[in-house]
């Protein structure tokens, strides 16, 4: 799903980023993971949520980058932040305390209950098929933010029935698991893909396709999913990007360093 809408000057990746930025409307504070979430969070500052407070695990609070940061420790973040605190402090006082509205995460693999794998692909932890970078800040972002938004392109190998390794808990395997594990945030509320948006069924915590992008056939989204994806009865269609969103996104992308 990397092609653009039929007659549009935007790709599904663009709409994925724009949809994520829209999802931040009305939020005050966002703990930003590396990669796609950082682009979307900065787009939100340029469009839906100018006063959004960006918090990165490097300890920068209230960063206002004028260009896209290449990593969560970019100097631009420190130089434009309200304050920079130590890494222990950002995790303990700011994240773990539950005071951040939204946690914004990417992933390598996600499952039906929104559990995330960023550790290993394959059945044997000690002899993995693919060794991924590992947990980083994701497990505690997923546990402690008031809600979590996940961005990940939808493919049968990445959207799987059950992840090979639970790096970060979405909903475990059933409602009540988060509470049982002592997690105080509500967990993932949206999984934003290049087909549309999945949301958890409140009764079962299973991810359900609830919105699609203009021109997307829900059956294609189902085919891109490694489990029998349910489609919401009230499936809706996301608005196409408007001119302001697209120009803000293009302006942001133009600031990105080469090596992203």
């Amino acid at each position: 799903m990397t092609t653009s809408g039929t007659d549009a000057n935007w790709s599904s990746d663009d709409l994925m980023t724009i949809t994520a930025a829209r999802a931040l409307a009305g939020r005050r504070t966002c703990f930003v993971g590396i990669g796609l979430p950082s682009v979307a969070a900065n787009l939100a500052r340029a469009t839906t949520t100018p006063d959004l407070v960006l918090i990165y695990e490097s300890g920068t609070i209230g960063a206002r980058p004028t260009r896209l940061p290449l990593s969560i420790g970019d100097g631009e973040l420190a130089e434009t932040a309200d304050t920079v605190v130590s890494v222990p402090e950002i995790f303990n006082y700011w994240l773990q305390s539950g005071r951040i509205d939204v946690g914004f995460l990417g992933a390598a693999q996600i499952d039906r209950f929104a559990n995330i794998n960023s550790t290993v692909i394959g059945d044997d932890y000690h002899r993995p098929d693919v060794r991924l970078p590992g947990a980083g800040g994701a497990p505690e972002i997923a546990a402690s933010c008031r809600e979590v938004i996940i961005m990940l392109r939808q493919r049968p190998r990445t959207f799987v029935g059950s992840v090979d390794f639970v790096t970060s808990v979405g909903f475990g395997s059933a409602p009540g698991d988060r509470e049982r594990f002592g997690m105080r945030g509500a967990g993932p509320t949206q999984v934003i893909t290049d087909y549309g948006v999945l949301r958890p069924d409140p009764a079962t915590c299973e991810l359900v396709l609830s919105s699609v992008y203009p021109g997307v056939d829900p059956d294609d989204a189902r085919a891109a999913t490694g489990w029998p994806l349910r489609i919401a009865d009230d499936l809706d269609v996301c608005a196409a990007p408007d001119g302001r969103e697209l120009s803000a996104l293009r302006a942001l992308q133009a600031t990105r360093p080469r090596a992203t």
């Binding site: 303990n92 060794r131 497990p139 505690e140 790096t167 992203t260």
Partner: protein
């Protein structure tokens, strides 16, 4: 600690402070990564190290590829903004150049392990690990709050034999000042038995800087001057991150022979580093 000669030559400091088999933490969270010190450890041929770092980054990719490490303790092992660390992945997949034991944590877990070490406690308490598969594959334990009955997670203190960090500057007494993203460097130094700091420069007086961390000379065993010692990462106020070098590393590190040639030329024989933008 050597109160009489805090400012030392880097090779002498590494020779004195880092021994085979040591647990060595080299910290710097994206910023101020102590590359010069790490390269010196490679040059001196240290072996069987337990290397500790939240984000192994290119530095540990090199040290692992060079065969320094028996074990890696970490929390996020990627090439930031680029992709994978190929020497790290090769060591995990094929044990090249030698088997590498892994102990992995979350960032919050690693940070709290350093906090416990710096505070002289055997463990720290946090919310985390529960419900994840990490819990079964690493060294943590459940702990119950004696007041509320709630179950939380205990992580064991990190108390490295040596901590190595890079800072912007030190004064002549060896008191160190660093600023910008300061990561877990204070905790790593205070948690370790010995501490080595490389600096961009030594100055007569440390002018105050907002957000700076100060490590008094008596907490540090050696300070070595290493201008540019954090390249290709950055030193706020001195030089920017060399993003192209991180990208260039991807190609070099994918191939064992190219890596070996780079290591021999740049680290072992001091030739200009072709990955650095300045050197091209």
């Amino acid at each position: 600690m050597s109160p009489s000669t805090p400012i030392q030559d880097l090779s002498a400091a590494v020779a004195t402070l880092v021994g085979d088999g040591d647990v060595v933490a080299l910290e710097g969270f994206t910023h101020l990564i102590p590359f010069a010190a790490g390269h010196e450890i490679i040059r001196q041929g240290r072996r069987d190290l337990t290397l500790v770092r939240m984000t192994p980054d290119l530095l540990f990719d090199r040290m692992i590829g060079a065969g320094c490490a028996a074990k890696l303790v970490f929390s996020w092992g990627g090439n930031p903004g680029v992709g994978s660390l190929h020497r790290f992945r090769d060591a995990v997949a094929t044990s090249w150049p030698r088997p590498l034991e892994l102990e992995e944590h979350s960032h919050a877990g690693m940070a709290n392990r350093y906090v416990a070490g710096a505070a002289g406690l055997p463990f720290a308490v946090m919310r985390g690990y529960r419900g994840t598969d990490l819990e079964q594959h690493t060294n943590v334990a459940p702990i119950t709050c004696p007041f509320t009955g709630e179950t939380l997670t205990a992580v064991p203190a990190l108390e490295p034999d040596v901590a190595v960090i890079h800072a912007q500057r030190a004064d002549r007494s060896g008191t160190v000042q660093l600023w910008g993203i300061t990561g877990v460097q204070k905790e790593a130094v205070l948690a370790a038995k010995r501490a080595l700091v490389t600096v961009e420069e030594v100055v007569d007086t440390l002018q105050p800087v907002a957000g700076a961390v100060i490590l008094p000379s008596w907490t540090i065993d050696a300070v070595a001057v290493a201008p540019g010692g954090a390249r290709p990462s950055y030193a706020q106020g001195y030089y920017a991150r060399d993003n192209a070098a991180y990208l260039a590393w991807d190609a070099i590190s994918r191939d064992r022979d190219r890596f070996a040639a780079w290591l021999d030329a740049v680290v072992m024989h001091g030739e200009p580093d072709p990955t650095l933008t300045d050197a091209r």
